[in-house]
């Protein structure tokens, strides 16, 4: 009987120890790896955002699609796209067409990296002509990026103007 009690004690102790190791430690670690403003743009996450912008502006559909998480959620112009394929097969073309002839000035852009998560905030001015109409507008963009096996992927985009 004594041996059984000792055995149970050891198993419970091992279980508690493994719980602490697996769950308690990450909460106590506040490993914040944050990059501000221009520093954030130089990070891998920042480069993904910049290259995604370039791909959209240059009409490179496959390249742009490659930066998006398969399950990306995109808010744009009062509608929502709930996958990269949805966006790539529908409104990505329209966005590329719209931006192709416009001048795009980046007014503000910052990327902040927190471990395997990052977010990007940017403001741009669009000027030029689209389908014969003058364009002079300011656009806002928020993004969430997650570091996955294949690198950083964009998981959420909110565009507004």
């Amino acid at each position: 009987m004594k041996r059984i009690i000792i055995h149970i004690f050891m198993v419970v102790f091992a279980a508690i120890f493994s719980f602490n190791a697996a769950y308690a430690q990450p909460n106590s670690e506040k490993s914040v790896d944050m990059h501000f403003e221009s520093e954030g743009l130089k990070t891998d996450a920042g480069k993904v955002v910049i290259e995604f912008h370039q791909a959209i502006q240059q009409g490179q559909k496959d390249k742009a699609r490659g930066f998006l998480d398969d399950n990306v959620i995109i808010y744009e112009g009062g509608r929502v796209e709930r996958s990269a394929d949805d966006y790539a097969n529908h409104h990505m073309y329209a966005d590329m067409e719209y931006l192709a002839d416009l001048d795009i000035e980046i007014l503000e852009h910052s990327v902040r990296v927190l471990g395997s998560t990052a977010y990007s905030m940017s403001r741009t001015r669009l000027t030029g002509q689209y389908k014969g109409k003058a364009v002079n507008s300011e656009g806002m963009e928020s993004m969430v990026l997650l570091k996955k096996e294949g690198g950083w992927k964009i998981s959420h985009i909110h565009w507004s103007h």
Binding site: L114, T117, V144, H158, S160
Partner: protein, 160 residues
Amino acid sequence: MYKFITAILVLIMSFSSIAHDEKDHSNKDREAIIDIISSIKYGWENGDSLPFRRSFLDFDGARYIEGGGQNRGLDSLVNHHVVPEKDALAYLKLDFSEVEIHFEGEDKSFAWAIADTSVKGKVNKNGRTFDKTGFQTFLFRKIDDMWKVVHTHSSSRNKK
């Protein structure tokens, strides 16, 4: 044999306990974020700066985007929008629905929440009413065991 069965039972109970704790932890975080979103709704509707002061992380570079413009920092948001709108509007009704919350990072200390929005109001100056629908993005960081808003983005259009 008896030892083996005991060990298996204890292990099952331990894993069950861990899974339960994790679920409780996750629910607690989810509830905390829902509470913050509810307090933001209250703050906008009542021109009350307190929910924003309490739940937003005030830091250099903070940006809160709404209606095609942005507020640089918490003071700008509160002093130029939240509080003045109390006097500028006869009423403001803001609703968040279809709220989705995603926890990210190894220690789940980052979260992003998205929601459909409905905003109705009446402007005191000219009696004009507005009725819009749109989308909302909230970004959160967990700091010292408290969730803080680090970025918001709302966009809306006139309801069709």
